[in-house]
Symmetry: D3
Subunit: 143 residues, 6 copies
Amino acid sequence: MLDISRKHSTLRIAVAEATLKLAATTMALIQQGRVPKGNPLEVAKVAAIQAAKGASQLIPYCHPLPIQFVGVEFALQERAIRITATVKAIHQTGVEMEALTAVAVAGLTIYDMVKAVDRGVVIGNIRLIEKRGGRSGAWIRPE
Amino acid sequence: MLDISRKHSTLRIAVAEATLKLAATTMALIQQGRVPKGNPLEVAKVAAIQAAKGASQLIPYCHPLPIQFVGVEFALQERAIRITATVKAIHQTGVEMEALTAVAVAGLTIYDMVKAVDRGVVIGNIRLIEKRGGRSGAWIRPE
Amino acid sequence: MLDISRKHSTLRIAVAEATLKLAATTMALIQQGRVPKGNPLEVAKVAAIQAAKGASQLIPYCHPLPIQFVGVEFALQERAIRITATVKAIHQTGVEMEALTAVAVAGLTIYDMVKAVDRGVVIGNIRLIEKRGGRSGAWIRPE
Amino acid sequence: MLDISRKHSTLRIAVAEATLKLAATTMALIQQGRVPKGNPLEVAKVAAIQAAKGASQLIPYCHPLPIQFVGVEFALQERAIRITATVKAIHQTGVEMEALTAVAVAGLTIYDMVKAVDRGVVIGNIRLIEKRGGRSGAWIRPE
Amino acid sequence: MLDISRKHSTLRIAVAEATLKLAATTMALIQQGRVPKGNPLEVAKVAAIQAAKGASQLIPYCHPLPIQFVGVEFALQERAIRITATVKAIHQTGVEMEALTAVAVAGLTIYDMVKAVDRGVVIGNIRLIEKRGGRSGAWIRPE
Amino acid sequence: MLDISRKHSTLRIAVAEATLKLAATTMALIQQGRVPKGNPLEVAKVAAIQAAKGASQLIPYCHPLPIQFVGVEFALQERAIRITATVKAIHQTGVEMEALTAVAVAGLTIYDMVKAVDRGVVIGNIRLIEKRGGRSGAWIRPE
């Protein structure tokens, strides 16, 4: 781990996204609440929050930090679900990895809940959208 | 969790893939062994193995199972790294989620190690390639 | 841990219960879907499943075992929620602790989600209802 | 998780309780140090401390925080054990969930150690007794 | 991880040892039950059992397996504590790492509980004593 | 846990060491990069970092704290590997246990990777070398 002992503690915010591609019939099952194991979006939200809090246990060079906010949102499209996670903490290091871990685990959880009917699901486009706070200042992904 | 008590324990194999898109300069740093924190591929391999073993702790409806083999490989391309994970276990349920979790966490770990120089990295195309064993038999992703 | 190496692997089932006592106004919030952080029952179900899978990490003399099924149900009463968890596994040891851990963590999760409006919630009556499988045979709690 | 970035870090204290009801013969075994696996109270104390430190991993909307003190005490009665946990931390959020998780896991651990002789044990009355620190000030459970 | 899918499941036993060297005054505190935080041997035993169950989460190439028995014993000498752990499981792989992890964590736990009075404690001689089961048969450390 | 609420948060540094004794032939395998499962030193470094971050989950009376730096180094000798770990954090409590846990887990990981060829490996001399920060000031192990 890099030494962060001389950095300042400030409010850090990170927003990450992922996109899940599913069959139209799978999207219909989700939207009609007919996935046998429950509502994949509700379950994925909980899994994503837990994964954000545990990111440093998954990713070796990720610093442990007491995160303060994790928001997870889903935008349903015809054959895709866009997952967005926002993470906040007051700390010396950023929270990008927490936000990226949240969207990845949300995607894996939805995959797991629909895989019996749609083995071809693809999780893609896991990326940082925005980052605020810290010495390097704000970063917003260029279009 | 679905009830699996009537399923047979057989050898289960799953192969999953992910693709990391990086800047050409970042690929050069990795290939020349000049990433400051160490070799991202070595670290990502360890993180992926640990994540595969812990998949059921991340993914709510994923059954815990004693996995027997996790293999992680990296194919370096000009501006991309293709990550492949193979998981095996003798169990009543498949090991897809373990293989998918492995490639996702490998991707997140590489991201984390190069993010100081390349904030635009994208992890994509996380998907199952092949699956063997179990009542439903073999499945190979169509081209 | 007791030595279990001479016991037989058979299907083990355990059912446990807990009762959460809440204010009538809190019950109304839950039933009307107006708890600010989300649906406490959906979140509690996920937390309970994860806790059942991790019971051996919480309880020192609890054996780790690959559980196969966790079912969590909620019965809403006027000022109470009855939580029931059913756990199944084919193993040499029983799954009582997994079922009891599930209902306890479900109760703690609901508590956490309503504590801002109802600090007086009490979790009670955590107990085994039924147990099947193993040398000692079936046990059903006497009325 | 609720956004806590505007709250102040102050000393937070929470006290929680639970009551375990056991058969008189089981109480005698505990008091005479004749439980085969060891002293349930010593083991339960360690499990409770570990559970308090890990509460945010069990309870989805519970914030991770660096707790500073966990005290666990047992009051033995004729057919019951009253478990009390006190937790302290300097943080922006309270430590109620840590104290409640501690008493719940202490209860589950004692249950696990005596279940071979007393399957009818009931864990009840898990509740917050007192809470200090934070904007909302002190709260003491009314008699 | 090596592929173990062709190995047989048999009863595996491993015995490991470690030796903690402490000041004579620290040994006296332990023997007289005057260590402020509690009985280090009781706490170390619980920590060792939990660590044995979680060895695969600590050690990357260690297979997860449902262990069935962990025994931890302490032999008090004038200025040393000899820690012995015995682990059993019916599995395709051995349980050496579980036994070694148990004695290492027992040693670290005792260290932690006496470090305020004896900073010079040394944990040494962590080694396998005996191993039974599996294709390679029994192994006993030569004198 | 001792109450630390009146202590000051300052930069804490701890350095710990362990020594692994191996057969000369095993040392040769490591130095020539011919250990079948990979480079034990690379894997051990990752395992040590993860273990340092998770020390409070292993050791009951160890406080959780957001560590900021873990450095792990290996000095290869003819029949031994000396492992050194340095840990830093700004906190009210020291980071000795994190450094000691790191070297112990590094040693166990190397052991695990060479045990198929060298069952006689011994991990010894796990000890604190140096400690800085906090009310008690600096401590350096006397020669």
